[in-house]
């Protein structure tokens, strides 16, 4: 896991070994819990997602409504539980898609080089230079708003960044002697990127993936700011924050709890990645 300039790959399993850090474990449990909530939301939510349970709005926490009510008088707890499906589902799917595509293309570009790299880089640079929110607006306005469209839109927006990042790392690794040796050996492209390049960049790529996940969650909420996003009565957590932002000066729980939900998820994803056992981060070290 190195962008270092050394000529041999460091194998430092001794630092963290196989130990699972407690922070990582807690982070993993939080993500798991949200994933379970996402799947079981209809079973555990006390109210249907769109039901107006009270004429009053922005109610404080109470036994009946543990997280208060929202701007329409709907149960915030139920809306957060249902919102997990969208925030967790859409963000994970699109970040996975974006990073898979971006990193693969980035490594391929670094290894193949030449016209392929030039053409791909120019095209993706062109995409990345278009502001993400405007790109999202155009794509959703042109195609319509549904789960697959949202996932693809977000993936398209974040692929170029992922590509650029991975390519920059891969170019460095590609300049290493052991890669040159492998190439001279006549290894195929697939082998080169999987077995030689990937292990060298997987650490930073994972760290980047964590951030990219946060950005996707945020872009999803920005889209709700622009009136795009998940279809009502459902809402992702960012949209919950947006639709209840008027309650901020009333310190309404309806705006605070969705923010906490977002923070708990994004922080957990990043802490988990930071605390992955060295074995996973360096899995190729065994290969």
């Amino acid at each position: 896991m190195s962008v270092s300039l050394s000529s041999t790959r460091p194998v430092r399993r001794w630092r963290l070994g196989y130990r699972i850090s407690p922070v990582g474990a807690v982070a993993f449990l939080v993500i798991l819990a949200w994933a379970v909530v996402a799947v079981t939301a209809p079973l555990i939510a006390p109210h249907p997602v769109g039901e107006i349970v009270d004429f009053d709005f922005f109610q404080p926490m109470s036994a009946a409504y543990p997280m208060g009510t929202d701007y329409l008088g709907r149960d915030v707890l139920s809306r957060i539980l249902f919102g997990a499906r969208y925030t967790v589902g859409i963000s994970l799917a699109s970040v996975a898609l974006a990073c898979l595509t971006g990193v693969t293309l980035g490594m391929a570009a670094a290894v193949i080089g030449g016209a392929f790299e030039a053409a791909l880089s120019r095209f993706l640079d062109a995409l990345i230079s278009i502001p993400s929110k405007i790109m999202a607006l155009v794509l959703v306005a042109a195609i319509g708003s549904s789960m697959p469209v949202l996932i693809l839109t977000l993936a398209v927006i974040y692929t170029p960044g992922s590509y650029r990042f991975a390519r920059a790392l891969a170019v460095n690794v590609n300049a290493m002697d052991y890669v040159t040796v492998a190439r001279v050996r006549g290894e195929r492209l697939g082998y080169l990127i999987r077995a030689e390049i990937l292990p060298g960049i997987v650490g930073p790529v994972l760290a980047d993936l964590g951030l990219r996940f946060v950005f996707i969650v945020l872009l999803l909420s920005s889209m709700s700011f622009l009136g795009l996003g998940v279809q009502p009565p459902n809402a992702d957590w960012g949209a919950l924050v947006k639709e209840n932002i008027g309650g901020l000066s009333l310190a309404a729980p309806a705006v605070i709890f969705p923010s906490l939900a977002i923070a708990s998820l994004t922080i957990s994803v990043n802490l988990l990645i930071d605390n992955l056992p060295q074995k996973i981060r360096d899995r190729s070290a065994d290969a």
């Binding site: 995409l127 230079s129 278009i130 502001p131 993400s132 460095n172 000066s249 923010s259």
Partner: protein
């Protein structure tokens, strides 16, 4: 080495022109996918077929879109960005003022956030594994996890409404004193710094740690060199490439990505201008803004690449 960089810059100019062309084509294709054209949007609820046809003719929009695009490209080659469909004002004039505003905001934000982010990132790397490191990691993620419209709104409620220290709006047009300028910029700059710092902090930390784990650095550490010295004199120069790249990406966000901050603080910048242009299907204006964003982005990454090459001997001789 200088000649290498000069050659690279020459190459980059060609590449920039190519990329601008690609952007123009991508934007053109994307906007033709959008439902409705400028005339329908302008007429809104009044868009009856005869009204649409009449206005379209009056606005000289009855030629096919592709033809108009080619004409626009031809004019672009002579440096003419065209005229807005919506209000007939030259695109260059519409963009001019607002670009200056955006650059001001971006400049101030960068001047504040880049040093802070680099310091925090490097500190976290030096103190890797300590409480400080973990705190920086959690706080940075927590800070960017909050949607920026929430940060901005909260800042306004606290500093403008409750405390009355700062204005709720950033209208720099009427500001004459330095204190006034600081006040006007304070909230948008803080909000934006929150948004862009996290990536720079994390990438700086990661890059420095990567170089710190290089065998020669470890060797030096084992021999008793101070960790701090190692970071500042050996690791940092080598980590410069990835760091500068992360900084460049973050800064490019400051032009086009600040729609929400511009909206909430009523700051007349270029991101909102492009949003308007999309909303009214004003193709010359959309294209003009896209050209600016693309150019700024390419400029930033070219600078980043030059820094990378200068700092990495392996690439320098490649």
């Amino acid at each position: 080495m200088n000649s290498l960089i000069l050659r690279m810059i020459a190459g980059r100019i060609v590449v920039t022109l190519m990329t601008l062309l690609i952007v123009a084509i991508v934007i053109f294709c994307a906007t033709t996918l959008l439902p409705g054209d400028v005339v329908q949007i302008l007429l809104g609820q009044s868009a009856t077929p005869e009204a649409v046809a009449g206005l379209r003719q009056a606005m000289h929009l009855d030629q096919p879109a592709a033809l108009r695009f080619l004409l626009w490209l031809k004019n672009l080659a002579t440096g003419d960005l065209g005229v807005s469909y919506v209000n007939g004002i030259p695109v260059a004039e519409l963009i001019g003022n607002r670009l200056a505003n955006s650059l001001k905001l971006a400049g101030v934000t960068a001047a504040l956030s880049v040093p802070v982010a680099l310091t925090l990132g490097i500190t976290a790397a030096i103190l890797r594994g300590t409480l400080v490191d973990r705190l920086v990691a959690v706080v940075t993620i927590a800070v960017i996890s909050v949607p920026e419209f929430m940060v901005a709104t909260l800042a306004v409620i606290v500093f403008a409404v409750t405390l009355g220290w700062l204005p709720a709006l950033s209208m720099t047009g009427d500001v004459t004193t330095l204190a006034g300028l600081i006040k006007a910029f304070a909230m948008p700059v803080i909000t934006l710094s929150f948004v862009i710092s996290a990536q720079m902090i994390r990438m700086t930390r990661a890059a420095v740690i990567e170089t710190l784990s290089a065998p020669y650095v470890e060797m030096a550490l084992l021999k008793g060199a101070s960790r701090r010295r190692m970071v500042l004199h050996h690791a940092l120069p080598n980590a410069l490439g990835p760091i500068v790249n992360a900084v460049a990406l973050s800064l490019s966000y400051l032009l086009g990505g600040v729609i929400i901050v511009e909206t909430i603080f009523n700051y007349p910048g270029i991101a909102k201008l492009m949003l308007d242009a999309v909303a009214t299907r004003d193709l010359p204006l959309i294209q003009g803004c896209a050209m600016i964003f693309c150019f700024a982005y390419l400029l930033l990454i070219t600078i980043a690449d030059i820094v990378t090459i200068v700092s990495n001997p392996r690439l320098r001789h490649a």
